[in-house]
Symmetry: C2
């Protein structure tokens, strides 16, 4: 194998800037990292934050309903809810008439924590979206909702 010169030319991204999958991966990665930084020290991941929001908005929701709302498998949700329950942010109550299921709701601790998390998230979302104008941001959110069937 002969030795060659290293590449000097500017990098060509090829087809990647035209691929939705690639652009979503990059954007998602940046948002994940930004979320972690914005909420560091409070020990709630981005996925867990979404679950807390859903439980808050739907007190008494069951794990199966939550799975559908979050577009996740129940086997993904089950351990996630265990962590949130162990951290005492979410409580489970028995449901009369069906002992297989449990009604989920925020604990007082969860209720107390969520507003400050929401404030941090709003703040970090604003920073991450700052390359876009207000109208572009609105359009982007709208198109992503449509893409997700929401």
């Amino acid at each position: 194998m002969d030795a060659v010169r290293a590449r000097q030319e500017p990098i060509d991204l090829g087809p990647l800037p035209g691929l939705l999958g690639h652009l979503l991966r990059r954007a998602h990665g940046r948002m994940q990292a930004g979320f972690a930084e914005a909420t560091s020290g409070r020990g709630v991941t981005a996925s867990e934050f979404a679950l807390l929001c859903l439980v808050e908005a739907n007190p008494g929701i069951t794990l199966g309903q939550l799975a559908q709302a979050a577009a996740l498998d129940k086997s993904t949700l089950s351990p996630a809810m265990q962590r949130l329950t162990e951290r005492q942010l979410v409580e489970r109550q028995p449901v009369s008439g069906d002992r297989r299921t449990q009604a989920l709701r925020l604990s007082p601790e969860g209720t107390a924590l969520l507003p400050s998390l929401k404030a941090s998230v709003d703040d970090y979302e604003g920073r991450m979206v700052s390359p876009l104008s207000e109208q572009e941001r609105t359009t982007l959110l709208s198109l992503l909702r449509k893409l997700n069937g929401l």
Copy 2:
């Protein structure tokens, strides 16, 4: 803990439809799953596909340059390139004048495989984006590029 009734009301997504991070996570998840299905059997993941495209577009690129182009850490890329090298899709050549680095390029096998992968990816992207009009798709890609600083 008293037993309560399970929630009957329709699910409320709360603030999530307005959060870019959440919408990106959902969209990215769907795209990942779609990619895996569209390319199943060929043993290349979405990340690996992106790397193959970058190597194809920039023959002789080094790992460090590739990391920058893909917006990934070198420690993420190193094992990924090992897999691609072991699978004989990418070759490494010594670089004259700097024995620390290696020039990357597609192998004949990689060169032969990539077009069919690209065709499958184009096809699956088209299917995933079908809820959007052609113009909406263009707008979405453009906004995501801007968000990513591309």
